[in-house]
């Protein structure tokens, strides 16, 4: 069986071959002689921790970055793409993590953008575009109305539109960068179906992700990068998750299955929320948090978790409902009010909300607690800032060249640790973490789990919001499940994941069994 699979792959031509790619940035060798082959119709996983060089490699392949050394062969010919536009026209497309569609245009307009059918004087041929769209839709069994505006689509549908766009240009290779980030389980299932169909038609996919379950479900081979170097390429069927994790981190991480210790102080709730309503997102949310407790909040995307976090932090105002802290009724006008009351939020999107990317590390770190670093005339003591930054660097194991480095040059895990540090410096009593481990590598994730547990042990109340069920089960003392703006379940540590999933999806979903199977 395995040998049959191998011979089958051996027979097939390489659609993409790269040899000895190198690329440096100031102070870092981002890629060091990396080679990679992708065969026709192959789903090829590209794995590595944050900062291992995955994004740089992708950008060098499509021509968004200029590589310093190395050769690239696409469809059998040596090529040197100068820009993503050029590689896209040749049949190499990327579905980026961040959305790259124009929200004000329709699906069809987006798909045809830059490649419109028109006559000599520039008048668009609408019919021809529609015919092409219909043909591709039938071929791949997409069922989507081409006249919808992209701004009205969900994240999953937008991903779908990007894939259709690639197919319309007859792409032979599609690079997908974390395509399942912020997709619900159902949507992920649909995406996998599409990928299977692409494979059937001989289209190759380079699949970049952090989620090993996905890798083992859909890919043929796995290439692992570490510190800008290629570690190895493996047949997916011949390896195991543990082996991959070890290869990625470069060391054997012991599996942590120790039972967590509950430090909840149940004498009086720290925060008490009653009947919170917000637009169509929250429909009567009530719950309590205690000091020393890690309270998990999970649910599908769009269930209202992030809105709840922003309300508690004073960033948006609820339509109605009460918030009490230490038994005192409060109404926050701004995040500043919330911070003064000891509430901190590590927001969902660290790049746009968590950090000022053109700010130096130490300036990001001191921003919310700047008063601690100033004298009574508002003059900042920079030495104090630098000292604190160094303290957190050691405590949180943050990797940066100097505290004067701008945070945009750091990897996701290190950025997130800076966001966490800047909030810990405010001395919060309630720390809200919204998808704090999204898109960061395994090691940084486990470091953040450890920190969260330590903080709870010291009496902090923690609200841990995440759509990754496994981590919520792993580190929370109590779990709330949100569904469609309401709390659909409350569980204690040790609950079976299937119960949580049931509460997330509700009873009416048909393929409940299938979803449960996956998550185990």
């Amino acid at each position: 069986m395995i040998s049959l699979c191998e011979t089958k792959i051996e027979d097939v031509e390489n659609i993409l071959e790269i040899k000895d790619f190198s690329k440096s940035f100031p102070g870092v060798k981002a890629l060091d002689r990396v080679s990679l082959e992708v065969k026709e119709g192959e789903i090829h996983a590209l794995l590595g921790e944050n900062g291992s060089g995955k994004s740089t490699l992708t950008k060098c392949i499509v021509g968004a970055y200029k590589k310093e050394e190395g050769n690239l062969y696409f469809k059998g010919k040596e090529r040197d793409f100068k820009s993503p536009i050029e590689s896209f026209a040749e049949g190499l497309s990327v579905v980026y993590q961040e959305r790259s569609l124009i929200p004000q245009l329709t699906i069809l307009q987006n798909i045809m953008l830059g490649n419109e059918f028109s006559n000599k004087i520039g008048i668009l041929n609408e019919k021809k575009a529609r015919d092409l769209f219909r043909k591709v839709s039938e071929q791949y069994q997409f069922n989507i109305n081409p006249d919808l505006l992209v701004k009205n689509l969900g994240v999953a549908e937008q991903k779908l539109v990007e894939i259709i766009k690639a197919l319309v240009r007859r792409s032979k290779l599609i690079i997908m960068d974390e395509p399942t980030a912020s997709l619900s389980e159902d949507e992920i299932e649909h995406l996998f179906m599409i990928i299977a169909k692409l494979k059937e038609k001989g289209i190759s996919v380079i699949y970049i992700t952090h989620l090993l379950d996905e890798v083992f479900k859909i890919t043929d081979r796995i290439t692992i990068l570490r510190d800008g170097k290629k570690v190895t390429t493996k047949q997916t069927k011949e390896t195991t998750k543990d082996e991959i994790v070890n290869l990625m981190s470069g060391e054997v991480l012991q599996k942590k299955d120790d039972k967590i210790q509950n430090h909840t102080d149940r004498t009086a709730p720290f925060l008490s929320v009653q009947n919170l309503f917000y637009q169509t997102k929250l429909k009567g949310i009530s719950f309590k948090t205690y000091q020393g407790e890690v309270l998990g909040v999970t649910g599908l995307t769009g269930a209202g978790k992030s809105e709840m976090a922003k309300i508690l932090f004073g960033a948006i105002k609820p339509d109605s409902g009460n918030i009490e802290i230490n038994g005192k009724y409060l109404r926050f006008k701004s995040p500043n009010d919330a911070i003064k009351r000891g509430i901190s939020l590590v927001p969902e999107d660290r790049k746009t909300d968590g950090l000022n990317q053109i700010f130096e590390v130490y300036k990001n770190l001191s921003l919310p607690s700047l008063d601690r670093f100033t004298n009574r005339f508002g003059v900042i003591d920079t030495r104090k800032e630098l000292k604190k930054t160094e303290e957190y660097q050691k405590k949180m194991n943050i990797k940066y060249a100097t505290p004067f480095q701008k945070t945009r040059f750091l990897s996701g895990g290190n950025q997130q640790k800076i966001v966490l540090s800047k909030w810990l410096e405010t001395g919060p009593k309630l720390l809200i973490l919204d998808e704090a481990t999204q898109g960061i590598d395994i090691r940084a994730k486990s470091e953040i789990y450890t920190i969260v547990r330590q903080l709870a042990e010291r009496g902090m109340s923690i609200l841990f919001i995440s759509s990754e069920i496994r981590e919520v089960l792993g580190i929370c003392d109590r779990i709330l499940v949100f569904r469609d703006g309401k709390i659909s379940g409350e569980f204690d540590q040790g609950v079976k994941s299937e119960n949580v999933i049931k509460a997330m999806l509700g009873g009416s979903i048909n393929d409940l069994d299938k979803v449960m199977e996956e998550s185990q």
Partner: protein, 321 residues
Amino acid sequence: MTFEKDKHQLNKIFKVLGKYKIMIAFLFLTIIISFITPRFLTWVNILNVFRQSSIVGIIAIGSTFVIIVGGFDISVGSTLALTAAMVIGFQNFIPWPIAILFVIIIGGLLGVLNGFLSAKIKIPAIIATLGTMTIIRGAVYLYTGGYPVYTDTMGAFSFIGNGYIGPIPFPIILLLVLIILFQFILVKTKLGRYITAIGGNKEAARLSGVNVDFYIIMAFLIGGVMASISGVVYASRLLSVTPLAGEGYELDAIASAVIGGTSVSGGEGSVAKTLVGALLLTMITNAFNLLGINLYFQYVFKGIVILTAVGFDSFSKNKNS
């Protein structure tokens, strides 16, 4: 390997060059001009360049703050005219120090108005200040009745624009003091840090507890105050103000900030470098005058300098990302 090392070193040199390019351009131009005309590098002419830079230079301090916070203020030229006319007019009723205090408050209030329109009403800053620019210029005509305002008192008031401390004209000293003070405020105080943070990422600043609207208004307030101080210097220097005073100064001030490396998208900039930008612009005019070149060419050349400075910056930034 050695090649790589060389390359690395070269990169480093380029980086340093990039950081100080405005200084280098400034020195380069100084050397060239002084070779062409010996009258350029004389004590008298140097003081002249500085003094001519002082009015636009003071406005440019404010423009730097406004651009860093992510805004634009094109109303400062009109504010200069209004406060200059008023500081002379008011002296008919009140002593000059109080008149100065009054017009600085007026400049500050106009700045607050600009900030309010931009931060609270959410009118894009360039449009908001286009509106106030027109209104304030109208107010100048209404106040002056369309005629120049002038004063004959050659008293203490004229010291601000014409006096000397030792060998150095007072406007230069005022300019330098303000540059140092506001550079300090920008880099060493909470006010400056918050303004920079807002320009870099407004939402991240808000979610870090920064009162965003307040500090945007503060940046515009500094813009208005600087314009009115500049108006006082202008009035004191000429002792007469026409309703057309200060027209186009806002553009020279923005150009000074931008040539000095202030990022047009906000979040980055330096008051000290803005001074160099302002000196560079004045130097061009000065050199052209010394060389007797047609005034009209100066405009063309100034425009080219602005485009070169900003183009170099934008292009290299784009390439890096």
